[in-house]
């Protein structure tokens, strides 16, 4: 999966979506849009479900921790790739952040049922390829790839 084969894949859909940070007012909006798009592309239910889930978690992270960010969706006949690129505080210790149950969320965020320390684990579990890079004071970059394989029914 880490081979550079992805870049030779021709995109059948590509778009980027803005996500507002520091507020939950529109949280989930981009995920809903992306889910609807993938459904229109007639991807299998399972692929749509997983892509919607990882996008949602990435979107919530931008809402929770970043000033702003964008989610880039790229669909090829073989893969759905979702990248979440934010401008924000960044992650001090990625290994720690990846631990189930670990969270730096505020009490207010937790009261809403976010910040349970499950988001990044969900992303890892539901994507076929996942990469996270982060720079303190700059932001965080997530890349998630879901394989379409033979589930793909064409467009």
């Amino acid at each position: 999966m880490t081979k550079n084969v992805l870049s030779h894949d021709t995109a059948i859909y590509e778009n980027s979506f803005h996500v507002e940070g520091g507020t939950f007012e529109n949280a989930g909006h981009v995920s809903s849009q992306i889910k609807a798009l993938l459904k229109r592309l007639k991807l299998s239910k399972e692929v749509v479900r997983r892509a919607a889930l990882v996008t949602y978690e990435a979107e919530i992270n931008i809402c929770s921790y970043a000033d702003r960010g964008q989610i880039v969706l790229r669909v090829t006949p073989e893969h759905v790739t979702v990248e979440a690129i934010d401008e924000g505080q960044g992650i001090v210790d990625i290994d720690l952040a990846m631990q189930a149950g670990y969270s730096t969320a505020t009490e207010k965020i937790r009261e809403m049922g976010f910040g349970a320390g499950m988001g990044l684990c969900n992303i890892k579990n539901f994507s076929d390829f996942f990469r996270i890079t982060s720079e303190i004071g700059k932001g965080t970059h997530l890349k998630m790839v879901i394989r379409i394989d033979k589930d793909f029914d064409g467009i």
Partner: protein
């Protein structure tokens, strides 16, 4: 297989229907309980009725993304005004149970299982 829809649950638990009164024929294939949104995102299934104490607007996106049959709020907790507005816009059914979660969950569980038991044996 005998089907459970929202209408049966609404009548049996005497739920108050806040949004989606015209969609109560939606089939309920199971249930999920949770107040942690990531847990619900990861583990609930399409067709589930989601029982939660959260009333803020973000529950709408979760129910919509997971294609839940509907959301039941417990302990008589009404959804926040912006939750109602968003649910109307996104076509998510929200109902309120005037009882503690334990009771609501138990009754929904029994209802779904009773229907399954009514299934005639082959």
């Amino acid at each position: 297989m005998l089907k459970v829809n929202l209408d049966i649950i609404v009548k049996e638990l005497d739920l108050r229907v806040i949004t989606g009164a015209d969609r109560l024929d939606a089939e309920v294939t199971g249930g999920y309980v949770g107040d942690l949104l990531s847990d619900v995102m990861a583990n609930s299934k399409e067709g589930d009725v989601w029982i939660t104490r959260q009333i803020h607007q973000n529950i709408v996106a979760v129910a919509s993304l997971k294609d839940h049959a509907g959301i039941i709020l417990i302990q008589g907790a009404d959804p926040a005004p912006d939750t109602v507005e968003k649910a109307r816009k996104e076509g998510v059914t929200i109902m309120v149970a005037d009882m503690p979660g334990f009771e609501a969950i138990g009754r929904v569980y029994n209802l779904i299982n009773a229907k399954k038991r009514e299934e005639p044996s082959v």
